[in-house]
Amino acid sequence: MHALANPTRFLRLARPVTAWLLLVGLVLSVGGIAAGLTLTPPDYLQGETVRIMYIHVPSAWLGMAGWMGIAAASLSQLVWRHPLAAVGGRAAAPAGATFAAICLITGSIWGRPTWGTWWEWDGRLTSMLVLFFLYLGYIALAAAERERGGEGRIAAIYGLVGAVNLPIIHYSVLWWRTLHQGESISLAGSTIDSSILWPLPLTMVGFTCLFGAAVLMRMRAELAEAKVEARMRRLGRA
């Protein structure tokens, strides 16, 4: 990771990677969505509404992965003082918040025909909503710190503390058995039939690539803005 501490070296790598992530992400996401909407059979219990899974599950994963990225960046910033860590954390937050919001909204839409309700204060739903608010707090805190010329240490501490919510989200369906179903996909296998499941890896990888592209684009924007600010400061002093 420290090999990428040099912004010039990072940008040399980030430019082609951004384009590739966008291309692969678009192809896999569109392919997975098309397959999920047209090529798979309806579920015997949920019927056609099971198709919401192909966007809901990747957004749930990315909502959580975004905060894992923030926590890793925060640790890297506080412990190893990696110069790009704060930039990476700030870049991951809007993408993570967007996918957490998609997860909440699509879950609510899925809940109405399946459970008969748009919302329930169930452990999984509530902890996911908390994650969305944590993102908003992180974005506001990081922006305020940056405006004051800070290094982003307070936002980094917040990013690490907020990671406590991740295992709560993951285990919520085991700790509190309420409305949300238990784990259907784990490392051990899946309880979903393969005839329905197969487009899910396409959208999972596709949306993950798009998430990565969004983060890299935000990092590039932040580095360019920092370059302009530094130049303006130098011109101001001259």
Binding site: L22, S29, I33, L37, G47, E48, T49, R51, I52, I55, H56, S59, P94, A95, T98, A101, I102, I105, T106, I109, W110, R112, P113, F207, L210, A213, A214, M217, R218, R220, A221, E222, A224, E225, K227, V228, R231, M232
Partner: protein
């Protein structure tokens, strides 16, 4: 209950928000990189 309006609504939300995120990230990157390039040429 007809399930398709729910399926369509979920996909419209997911695609719109993802496209919005990507367009915003791309536009902010292009703007910032153009400004950085312009200032380095001065």
């Amino acid at each position: 209950m007809n399930p398709w309006p729910f399926v369509a609504a979920a996909y419209v939300v997911a695609i719109s928000l993802t496209a919005g995120l990507l367009l915003w990230a791309y536009a902010s990157m292009r703007r910032a990189e153009a400004a950085a390039e312009a200032i380095s040429r001065k």
